[in-house]
């Protein structure tokens, strides 16, 4: 589904951050990318998600048989590559339900399907709200405005559940969550798991991975994946810290 080869990227006219990333993600898999601060985790997410301000200086990314960088940001999203934000953005005056519906319909339109019937759409959203243990009043609040950290993250997963991505890229979805919220968010992500969908989790901490069990764990350091393994790698990290692994790889 996603094949990253020797990907190199930098901040536009700035520091080189990604220095050659190789990663292959297949449908049905859950990958965790872990790494210390500044290792390039977020940059990887932003570059894949299509944020301006980064420059790809080498390598390639193939997504569903297409050159990912040939797709505009919104096209990537419509093709099912959705990024869950570390810091979800506030959009004052725009209701959550409105954004959900616009996004949902943008996707349908892209697939040549008719716009969703309002009644059925609402029914769908209500179901997903239940999963995320969110009150219906969330739908009528402005997008992320005045949301607590936990509410924002829940809202990200709610969007995922509604939009049903083929590849969900979750950037530090666990940061800023208390234990209860972490459980709810993890449950939401687990609901996303399916044989035709891939999930990439980016995180600092092992604790998320005790709720969402990954098939693969990768350690990112200084813009490269220095070690890959199964979920036991996460436990190893927990015991020895990034330091041990980085030294070992050096």
């Amino acid at each position: 589904m996603l094949k990253i080869q020797n990907l190199q990227a930098r901040v536009e006219n700035g520091t080189q951050i990604l220095k050659g990333i190789d990663l292959e993600v297949k449908a049905g898999e859950v990958h965790a990318i872990m790494g210390p601060n500044g290792s390039g985790k977020s940059t990887l997410c932003q570059v894949l998600g299509g944020r301006d301000g980064y420059e790809v200086t080498g390598g390639s990314v193939d997504y569903l048989g297409q050159d990912l960088f040939e797709l505009e940001t919104e096209e990537r999203a419509r093709e099912g590559l959705l990024l869950g934000f570390q810091y979800p953005v506030e959009i004052p005056g725009v209701k959550n339900i409105y954004l959900l519906k616009e996004a949902y319909n943008a996707q349908r339109k892209h697939r040549g399907e008719p716009e969703a019937d309002t009644f059925q759409f609402l029914k769908l959203v209500r179901e997903k709200l239940n999963t995320m243990q969110m009150d219906e009043s969330f739908l009528h609040r402005a997008v992320n405005v005045g949301f607590s950290g936990g509410e924002k993250k829940r809202n990200e997963i709610l969007q995922m559940l509604v939009l049903e991505p083929r590849l969900a890229l979750l950037d530090e979805t666990d940061s800023g969550l208390d234990i209860d919220a972490l459980k709810v968010v993890s449950e939401g992500v687990n609901k996303l798991r399916s044989p035709d969908r891939a999930i990439v989790l980016v995180t600092h901490y092992q604790r998320l991975l005790s709720h969402i069990e990954p098939d693969f764990v990768h350690v990112l350091s200084d813009g490269r994946i220095i070690k890959s393994g199964d979920k036991t790698l996460a436990h190893e990290l927990e015991r020895n810290g990034y330091h041990g692994i980085i030294e070992e790889a050096a």
């Binding site: 940001t73 953005v89 959009i91 969007q159």
Partner: protein
């Protein structure tokens, strides 16, 4: 509701049959302004003497006045002798003969606004013949208003048919010599609208200038007078919700509203005059004086405006809260793109006791536009318990535009409560990225953010205006980001 798009379409298809007497059709006075010109205007309109005297007085006063220069706008000096003061109704000879002769860019805009074909022609000033008979629609609506005792007609008609009302109220809110542009208007105004709602009547429909097509063509100097008698209620929609190409450069209108005891006037405007091109060539100078007086107890005047057009906007719809417990409101969205300059805001003058006012102003600047909010909240000594809440937000798109806020607060009563909140924000790259990452195009993302920003004001607009205002914003801001 009678402002169904369908009805409107029908109405727009035909020529206006009221107001002007036919003998003055297509006449244009030569440029220049002097007492003879004013006498000629008055004579052409067959006005009673009190009107002529009022005009002359205004003119003499105007001669002693100076054009204001305090606004945050810049424009070359206007030669008032080069303007023709009786250009309405417009000559059809130099109008485009068909849509083929109209600037394709303008047509593209109409397309985006979803304006029906035949209406586009009218808006572009094409001299189309009425092919559709919709007199019955007008008749129905005239009858309905007539039954309620509501007078809604052109100003000229009012001068002829209801001179006592005109004489009683004209210039009592905006005096002839109020300011430079108001004085000029008083001297030379060609036509406008007149509304009278009798005691206790709730106007059975929203009144709209749509119904008075020729109000669009009366040119630069219109005058509107709305009187709401005790306990009455009226909602008035002004303006053109689509771009209107106009050769005239100066547009100096005056609007006076009078609300008596327990009366309520809601005045909504969507202004979309030609803003000039990307380089700032052409466009309307919109120098307008709008003021309402809450003359009676418990009266209420509410202004809602969406200002999207004009090269320069100089406009401060205001409320004088004379009656005890009266309420004044001002909800505004002002959008400037390219080289547009906007200096707009309101004045809330609290005179009566327990008077309340609310000001919600949303300024949006894009391109190289400059957008200033200028507002006065004045609480006089006797206005015990006066309260004002002002919220003034600016949104910037890009980094070459400007937003300015000039709040003036004068409080002479210690029991007054005046609150002022102001914010300035930029449409963030992170907001746009967020929405694009949900599959929404950049253009839609910008529209969504801007509409969210304006939500409180759009909520005040009558439904069909709100929809058009959103479409208008999208067109106005096209290409502003990216």
């Amino acid at each position: 509701m009678s402002t169904q798009p369908h009805d409107v379409e029908q109405l727009i298809k035909r020529e206006y049959k009221y107001g002007f007497s036919t003998d003055i059709d297509q006449e244009i006075l030569p440029p220049g302004l002097n007492e003879d010109v004013i006498r000629a205007i008055s004579a052409k309109k067959g006005e009673p003497e009190f009107m002529l005297n009022w005009r002359l007085e205004a003119y003499r006063h105007w001669l002693t006045m100076k054009e204001p220069s305090w606004a945050h706008v810049h424009y070359p000096k206007i030669d008032y002798q080069a303007v023709s003061y009786y250009a309405a109704p417009k000559s059809k000879e130099d109008a485009p003969k068909s849509l083929d002769e109209v600037d394709p860019k303008l047509l593209e805009t109409y397309e985006k606004l979803g304006i029906p074909l035949h209406e586009r022609a009218r808006l572009a000033g094409v001299a189309v013949d009425a092919v559709f008979d919709s007199v019955s629609v007008t008749t129905t609506f005239k009858e309905k208003l007539g039954e309620a005792g509501v007078i809604f007609c052109s100003f000229s008609e009012a001068v002829h048919n209801h001179p006592e009302l005109v004489q009683k109220y004209l210039g009592t809110v905006v005096p002839a010599g109020d300011n430079y542009f108001a004085a000029l208007n008083a001297a030379v105004f060609s036509d406008g609208s007149f509304v009278y709602i009798p005691k206790g009547v709730r106007c059975p429909m929203e009144l709209s200038t749509y119904f008075r097509i020729n109000a669009m063509d009366t040119g630069q100097f219109e005058r509107t007078l709305i009187i709401a008698e005790e306990g009455s209620h009226v909602s008035y929609l002004e303006g053109c919700t689509a771009p209107q190409r106009d050769r005239n450069q100066l547009h100096a209108a005056v609007v006076e509203l009078i609300a008596l005891d327990d009366a309520e006037i809601k005045y909504s405007t969507v202004q979309n005059w030609y803003p000039g091109d990307e380089e700032g060539k052409g466009g309307i100078y919109n120098f307008v004086t709008k003021r309402g007086e809450c003359r009676g107890r418990n009266s209420k005047i509410s202004w809602t405006q969406v200002e999207a057009g004009s090269a320069i906007t100089w406009k401060y719809p205001s409320c004088i809260l004379l009656g005890d417990n009266s309420v004044g409101e001002f909800y505004s969205v002002a959008v400037g793109n390219n080289m547009q300059q906007i200096d707009s805001g309101t004045k809330m003058i609290h005179v009566g006791k327990n008077t309340h006012s609310t000001i919600i102003s949303k300024g949006i600047s894009a391109g190289r536009a400059n957008n200033a909010y200028r507002g006065l909240v004045k609480v006089t000594g006797g206005a015990d318990g006066a309260r004002n809440y002002t919220q003034c937000d600016s949104l910037l798109l890009g980094d070459r535009c400007g937003a300015h806020t000039y709040p003036y607060i004068e409080v002479k009563n210690p029991s007054a409560q005046v609150e002022h909140e102001a914010t300035t924000s930029k449409i963030g790259d992170d907001q746009i990225f967020y929405l694009k990452q949900r599959g929404i195009s950049e253009e839609d993302a910008v529209n969504m953010i801007v509409n969210g920003f304006c939500k409180e004001v759009f909520g005040e607009l009558p439904m069909e205006f709100a929809v058009e205002a959103q479409a208008l914003l999208a067109v106005s801001l096209e290409g502003a980001v990216g």
